[in-house]
Amino acid sequence: MTNMNRINKKLQEDKKLLSIYFSAGYPNLNDTVSILENLEENGVDMIEIGLPFSDPLADGPTIQASSTQALKNGMTTEVLFNQLKDIRKTVSIPLIIMGYFNPMLQYGVEAFCKRCQDIGIDGLIIPDLPVNVYNEQYKATFEKYGLINVFLITPQTSIERINFIDSISNGFIYMVSSASVTGGNSGFGSEQTNYFNRIAHMTLKNPQIVGFGILDNETFSQATQYAKGAIIGSAFIKHLSKNGTKKIKAFVDNILNS
């Protein structure tokens, strides 16, 4: 089992998982590592490291703004990889890079994947790399470098498509709480919990982790009633923008035990 991906290992733990997203290089260029370390220290289970992009069209205003700032700070693909090169010396929870496809394409997809493996990245989330393109062109490469590619589903995703996505996934399914760009909501209504419930009852092979709209203990608890875990993005970025890298413990505590 030594070769098992950290994501899969983590998913086997008997607990609800808290995953945190943040934009690399935000608020300051060199905050990346300390944020990662801080998050692990304070009990976060998994982290999505955002590779900033100039045109993040699936993100809401908060993440957009943090991306823009990170780029202004000097963040690039190369800078991020350099920042992370020794990360596995200090951080052991699963790390996922989340970013748009164009910067990866320019880096070279294979080179990108290889570098991720070298560093110890466990998976990728690429919102604008569609399932079929991945499947036909990039699956082999990702697998060669031991990377889990995480796909999204939304309330509008058909049952057939969910089943298909489940069939080609080998980590977890990113369950978008509502078909909505990040950071737009507060609290889940019956429409969303019905949807969580519907997916939970599909008994998919991959566990689901809910993203979009998780911002506090209440939404985290709601989501994880139905799913294996939940991802917090905008709420954490807002926290960073207000407090910098301080008080991360308070933020995480507040989510986990309110």
């Binding site: 045109d55 069209l57 604008d128 058909s158």
Partner: protein, 393 residues
């Protein structure tokens, strides 16, 4: 079919649908239905009727005598400026609103640069009684004020895009975000041959009426359906796609695509995608785009809001890569001068976008008996203040 789209949604290496999953149902619904809908007799009838009675098609093919004399060649202007709302954009919005109706959509969103597509969208929404939201870069809202006013008159809501370069690219991002947030009742009317498949093909088909008409109009005037050259400016590339469409596979007809060089191709303030761009992904499509080595999309610049875009549609990336079309880059100053020239030689004030196409005569010499068709994509009413200021008239 070597230059047109293949059945996977690609033009050679370019195209496809690089979209977030949140958009998949909408784009897939469209992909599965657009050709079916467009083939329905009731659709065709309504589309043709509206193009004729509402838009005012066919648009004339006008022999510009004084311009021809000046450049010693035979220049025809395809008068898309005479369409209702003043540009080619409405050919597409009429088509898409009819598609949206048949898909049961109630709410329409659009992006706009020059505002012509926004106006054309607001217009068809008024016509059909549908809600309309138009995203427009903050900079473009300022430099195309008349079109903003028109959208408001037509009952549309104009939402400023405040991020990035605050121009067309960013307006498109905002429209996509809106669509992600409103996945069920909303249709996104993209204004050019950009975006994920099937948009580039769908928009090109709606715009193809331009070259369809050129064929029979030239036949009437010249006894043959083919010109020697067709010239069109390229922002996203919809007017060019329409003007080229029926000639794509006929290599006797030379195609010239005109891009905005802004303050100079290498000035750092330009939108000359073919020269400066590399392959990549923008707005859901694999194509040529201006970007950093790192894959960040570059903020483009052109005096014309409609060409101020860092990409081109995948058809044009393919036409460039294969050499099927010649690409010429025109600076702000060359375009403005050509716009003034056409106004004073032919009594036609072109949009600044269009003026780029009219500026190629210093870059490219034609023979006296060449037949050169320039797609006069739009009128310059929206640009008057810019012209006046530029020339201190």
């Amino acid at each position: 079919m070597k230059y047109n789209i293949n059945n996977k949604g690609y033009y050679g290496d370019f195209g496809g649908a690089y979209i977030p999953e949140m958009l998949y149902p909408n784009v897939e619904e469209l992909r599965q239905n657009y050709l079916k809908i467009m083939a329905e007799p009731s659709f065709k009838e309504e589309f043709d009727q509206l193009l004729k009675d509402y838009v005012g098609r066919p648009s004339p093919l006008y022999l510009a005598k004084r311009l021809s004399a000046k450049y010693n060649t035979k220049i025809y202007l395809k008068r898309e400026d005479l369409n209702h709302t003043g540009a080619h954009k409405i050919n597409n919005t009429i088509g898409q609103i009819l598609v949206a109706q048949r898909l049961g959509k109630k709410r329409i969103i659009a992006e706009t640069g020059a505002g012509q597509h926004g106006v054309a969208t607001a217009t068809v929404c008024a016509l059909m009684g549908m809600e309309c939201i138009v995203y427009m870069g903050e900079i473009d809202i300022a430099r195309q004020a008349p079109n903003v006013a028109r959208m408001k008159m037509l009952g549309a809501k104009v939402v400023p895009a405040l991020s990035g370069s605050r121009t067309l690219k960013d307006a498109t991002n905002e429209a996509i975000r809106d669509w992600i947030n409103n996945p069920v009742n909303t249709h996104y009317i993209i204004g050019s041959v950009v975006g994920p498949h099937p948009y580039p093909d769908m928009v090109a088909r709606f715009q193809s009426v331009v070259s369809e008409e050129i064929q029979w109009q030239l036949k009437e005037k010249e006894g043959k359906t083919t010109p020697d050259y067709i010239v069109a400016c390229v922002g996203g590339g919809s007017n060019a796609a329409g003007a080229f469409y029926h000639y794509l596979e006929n290599t006797d007809v030379k195609l010239i695509a005109v891009e905005a060089a802004g303050k100079g191709i290498h000035s750092g303030e330009s939108a000359a995608t073919s020269v400066l761009g590399k392959e990549g992904i923008i707005h859901g499509s694999k194509t040529l785009l201006m970007q950093t080595d790192d894959g960040q999309i570059t903020e483009p610049y052109s005096i014309s809001a409609g060409l101020d875009y860092p990409g081109v549609g995948p058809m044009h990336a393919h036409l460039y890569k294969t050499g099927r079309a010649e690409f010429i880059s025109i600076t702000d100053n060359e375009a403005m001068t050509a716009g003034l020239e056409l106004s004073q030689l032919e009594g036609v004030i072109p949009a600044i976008e269009t003026a780029h196409s009219l500026a190629i005569f210093d870059h490219k010499k034609f023979k006296e008996d060449d037949i050169v068709v320039i797609n006069l994509s739009g009128r310059g009413d929206k640009d008057l203040q810019n012209y006046i200021d530029y020339f201190d008239l």
